[in-house]
Structure formats: C-alpha cells, structure tokens
C-alpha cells in the first residue's frame, strides 16, 4: 500500500515536472530521495504503532535530545525559514522581532509548565485541564481551541508548500498543495507520532546544516565582516539604513505589545508543540528536550538574520536581479522564496535542490504534526471521551483517528487553495494569537489557580477563542485583504492584547461567582493535582516497547 502510494506520488511528480521548462533536476532527485527515505521510516513506524498511545505519543519512548530536535523541527517550520527570511528581505529588523518573540516562549514554558505538563498529561494538553475539571466540557472547549489554531497554522504551511513547489517544479499551485496533502495523510495514518517525530528529526538536522552553509557562504562573501555585510545590504535596499531598526510592522504601541504577547504566550498554547511533551518518558527528559530545542531554535534564528541580509545582497546584485527579480523588482515566486533563491546564489543548483527538498520536507513534517494534533482533538477528545464517554477500544479510536486525518488532509488542501497569497509568517502570527487567547489561559490557570472551576474555564475559554477570531476577522488582514471591504472595523492587526485579557477576566469572573456543587469538586481536586504535577507521583510511566 505504502509502496504504491509512493510510486504514484513520485511518478506524477516526475511527469508534471517534465512539462515545465527550467526544472531543477537536482531538486527533483533530492525530493525522490527524501520521500523514499521518509516512506521507509513510515513503514517501519507503522509496524511499531499498535496502540493509541503509540499513535499519539510514539509510546513515550523518545529521548530528550531526540525530542528537542523534533520540537526544533516543528518550530523551524516553513513559516520560520521562508517567512522570516522573507520578512527580513522586505522590512529588515522587523523579521527579527518575530524571531525573538517565537523563541522567548520557550524559557517560560520550561519554568512554568514543562514538568507539570509531562506529569499530568497523557496524550495532549487537554488532559491537564481535564484532570480535576468536568472532563466532557473541557474536552469540547479544548478541541475547539486546538482545531482553530491548527487550521490557521495549516493554512500558512500549505501556502508555503504550494508556492515552493510551484516555483521549483513549475507544477500548478493547486497540484502542489494536493501533493502535500496526500503525502501528509500517508505519513500520519500509517506512521503516527513515531514516523512524524523521525521525519521531523531528520528534517531539523538537514535544515540546520543547510542554514549553516548559507550563512557561512554569505559571510565569506563579505570577508566574514558583519559590518561589510550590513553596509552592502543597506546600500542595496530601498529603505537603506532603516532596515537596521524596528520599522513599519509594529506601527503603534498597541500592535507591538499585542504581537509580543501573542508570540510569547502562543508558544505555550500550540497543541502540536505541547503534544511533544508526552513523547518522552518522564519530566527529566521533558526538561532536557526544552534545552535542546531552545538551543537549536536560537541558533537557527541567529543565522536567519544573516540569511535575510544575504538575500538582500545577493538578490539585488546585478546577476541576482536578472535571475530572481521580475522587471518591476519583485521577487519571482513571492517574497517567501528569497531563502530558496539565495541558496542557489551561494551554492549552485545542487544546493538549491537540497534546500528545496528540505523546505518541502519541513512543510510535510510540520503539517503531519499539526494533523496529528487535530486528529487527537477530534478522535480522542471529542469522539472517544465526549461522545462515547470513554467506552471505546484502542483499535476503534485509532480507526476514527485515521479517518479524521483523511478529512483534515482534504480540508487543508482546500484552505491552502483559498489563501494562496498570504504572507506565511504573518499567518503563523495569527495562529499564535489564537493559541495565546484560547489555550494558554485555561492551561496555566488549571495548573496554578486553585479556584478555577469548570464553568469559569468553559465560558472564559470560549470568550478568548471567539474574541480572538472575531478581532482577526474584523482586522485589515481578513476584512480588507480577503473580503475586500474598504476599512477594517478593528483598527489593529494583532488581537492578542484584547483577547488574552478577555479570556483571563472571563475565566476569573465566572470561576469566583460559581457556587455550584461542581465548583466545590473542582477546587477540592487541586491538592492532589498539584502533588502529582510537582512530583510525578501517580503519572503514567513511559510505555516503551
């Protein structure tokens, strides 16, 4: 089955690729190699994936170092690699603000949440909130939160993938998006978390190596002098020295604070990232994985600054203009492609092939993780626990999970099609805002606040989610750019400051005014929960085979 799918995918890719002119043969070969390799992993993982625990958490047998790489892989998504380098190319320093925001969420997760997540949860972060609160209601709420975040994140990834393949293989955008959807469905349904994790680890290593090489070549071009590189970049960029300071992305204080809040707290509410804490054996490994992840992600973001500056220098040189820019001076394939063009400029066709394949792999791996998180929400939270009240066998639950993956795959393809012209890093910013408003407040308060009640969490969680979505829809991004209305109703592009506050206030208010019997039960459960969160006593151990 796997083999047939692989053959079909590859032959259609090759056929389509031959139609276009100027197709990068190296990239095609690298694709074949990567897809064949990952299909091999998927086949191996499929043989080891028997229970729901295997499917969702790789049986808890991943080490801290491996998990750190996998988290870095999830994080160094196409949106980070293609989107942030594109942002730096366009706006200079503003891209760095995103990079820093994405990173500083990590220490906070580690200090306040990592061990407690690991000690309290089993499959996903919903387990934590459901520990002492009314499970049914909390699962419904968290499933909505997760699915919304995953949807926005998926859009960004699908768009990135589609654009990338369109440029490199001259495959029509729609086909490219469909191909990504098909491959992702195969990885997840057959290989589950184990395959997803290993694809992610391999990809993280490849992309770190690739970015290191690009950065070295860019620095070599400037004689390893940062000043020389910066000077050249400012002389070629239309904004000149303005690219070296915070610029137009953060036009007013409210937007700046709101964006900062979303980036930092959003990390702690991303379902596909939080899920990774359950793939390791214990809290000790969970902590280690955060250190490795922060190290790899930080290293990557330090280099992406050089990549961004390098893209300004190389794409605007005389040869670069001819090869990579249109007559009007815009980047061929869109601004998300600058890192890919730069890789050809510094490393020739073979390296372009490598980076193209790695970027594609990146997207595949991240969409696989996202899909797994979404199927977990639907099959485990909504179907197994809410609808079937937990009376379900592992085999039945996995069957539902896999069908869910199929449906999500189709939806992702449709969304990728509908949102073709979005800046991918910006879209990820929105996903973060929703994660920060809908998931983070529930999670942090259920861990730390004794007086949290089911009613407070349920109402407050939906308040956060609905506020965030409404404000996004009413902001310029959707209201003007997508719906083509004249003026945005909500004046800021980043909703987090308002939606996070709304969530916290609503949770607080509806908790303290809750006098129900359930509320007493919720509060009474805190002590036992806290002991388990702190010590891991009573937590499920690693289920390794």
């Amino acid at each position: 089955m796997l083999r047939i799918a692989t053959l079909l995918g590859l032959s259609s890719l090759a056929l389509l690729a031959e139609d276009g002119s100027g197709v990068n043969i190296n990239a095609v070969i690298m694709f074949f190699v990567f897809i064949a390799g990952t299909m091999g992993i998927t086949k191996w993982a499929a043989s080891k994936t028997k229970s729901a625990s295997d499917f969702y958490t790789a049986g808890g047998g991943i080490t801290g170092f491996q998990n750190g790489l996998a988290i870095a892989g999830d994080y160094i998504s196409a949106a980070s690699f293609l989107g942030i380098s594109g942002m730096i190319y366009l706006q200079g320093y503003d891209g760095i603000i995103y990079a820093i925001g994405f990173l500083v969420g990590w220490p906070i997760i580690l200090f306040l949440m990592a061990e407690r997540l690991r000690n309290l949860g089993k499959f996903n972060f919903t387990d934590i909130a459901a520990y002492r609160l009314d499970e049914q209601k909390i699962r419904i709420l968290a499933a909505f939160g997760s699915l919304t975040v995953v949807t926005f994140y998926l859009i960004a990834q699908m768009v990135g993938a589609g654009k990338l393949i369109e440029v490199l293989f001259h495959i029509p955008y729609g086909w490219a998006v469909a191909l990504v959807g098909a491959l992702m469905i195969i990885y997840v349904t057959f290989g589950g978390m184990l395959a997803t994790t290993w694809v992610q680890i391999i990809k993280a290593c490849l992309i770190l190596a690739g970015v290191t090489f690009i950065a070295l070549m860019v620095m070599a071009h400037s004689g390893f002098s940062l000043t020389a590189l910066v000077t050249e970049a400012t002389s070629l960029h239309k904004s000149g020295v303005d690219i070296l300071k915070p610029g137009p992305f953060v036009s007013d204080p409210v937007s700046a604070i709101s964006l900062g809040l979303a980036l930092m707290l959003g990390t702690a509410g991303l379902p596909h990232i939080l899920m990774r804490f359950f793939t390791v054996g214990n809290a000790k490994e969970a902590r280690k994985s955060v250190v490795y992840a922060t190290g790899f992600i930080g290293y990557f973001y330090l280099l992406i600054g050089i990549v961004g500056l390098g893209s300004i220098v190389f794409l605007n040189s005389d040869i670069g203009k001819e090869l990579y820019l249109s007559a009007e001076g815009s980047v061929i394939g869109g601004v998300n492609m600058v890192a890919v063009h730069l890789s050809q400029a510094v490393g020739g066709d073979i390296f372009l092939g490598f980076i193209a394949a790695v970027s594609f792999a990146t997207i595949l791996a991240v969409v696989s993780g996202l899909t797994l998180a979404a199927s977990n929400s639907i099959a485990h939270d909504l179907y197994a626990i809410v609808i079937r009240k937990g009376n379900i066998t592992d085999a039945e639950e996995m069957k539902v999970s896999k069908r869910t993956v199929l449906v999500i795959g189709f939806i992702a393809v449709l969304l990728g099609f509908a949102f073709e012209n979005m800046n991918v890093a910006f879209m990820v910013g929105l996903a973060f805002a929703i994660a920060a408003s809908a998931n983070f407040p529930i999670l942090i308060l259920s861990i730390y606040w004794k007086k949290l009640t089911t009613r407070g969490a349920f109402i407050g969680g939906f308040v956060g989610l609905i506020t965030a979505i409404t404000l996004v829809v009413l902001s310029k991004t959707i209201w003007v750019d997508i719906f083509h209305f004249e003026k945005a109703i909500f004046p800021y592009v980043h909703p987090a400051l308002f939606s996070v506050t709304a969530a916290f206030v609503a949770i607080w208010f509806f908790s303290i005014t809750d006098k129900s019997a359930r509320a007493e039960e919720d509060k009474a459960g805190f002590e036992a929960q806290n002991i388990r969160a702190q010590t891991g006593i009573g937590a499920e151990g690693a289920v390794s085979h």
Binding site: Y93, I96, L112, K245, A256, I257, V291, G298, A528, I531
Partner: protein, 104 residues
Amino acid sequence: MDQKLVERIKNNPKYQELITKRSSFAIKLAVFMLVVYYSFILTIAFNKEVFANTIGDSIITIAIPIGATIIVLAFITTVIYVIRANGEFEDLEMSIKNDVKDIL
C-alpha cells in the same frame, strides 16, 4: 490519588522544600526573561528610535546586538534551570517517592 497519600506527601518536609525552592527558582528566572523581553517590546512600542542609535562609528544599530543577546539569554536561562531541576530537585523528588513507596 487517595487522601491518605495526599496527606503523607503534603506533610513530608522534603515536599515542602521541593515546591518552595523550585517555585521560587522558576519564578525568578521567568520574571527575569519577562523583564528582558518586555523591555525590548515596550521600547519598540513607545520609543523605537532608541534602537536606531548606532554603535560608535559603525552603521550597525544597537537593535542588532540587543536582539542577538535576548536569543542567547533565552538559551542560557533554560540551561541554568535544567541543571538545577534535573540535579538537586530531581533528587528531592526521588527521595519523596522513596518515602511514600510503601503505599504507592
């Protein structure tokens, strides 16, 4: 978890020591990172021209090393936390588990 176990652990002085020490350590580090990050964000929000100052005669603005420093600090603080959490605090946890293992 039954009430008997909850009481046993709660009254164990090592448990009190663990949560007091670990919480205060984690909160200190978290506050440190929050102050660093929000100083950065609030400067951009209210007075971003400060970051436009250049270093000496070079054209490089101070925004660039500040950004790089925050990234490095984020990593260093995670290392500091994990060294102590996986050493001292982990030992305390083990010894608590050992104390209650008869009723686990």
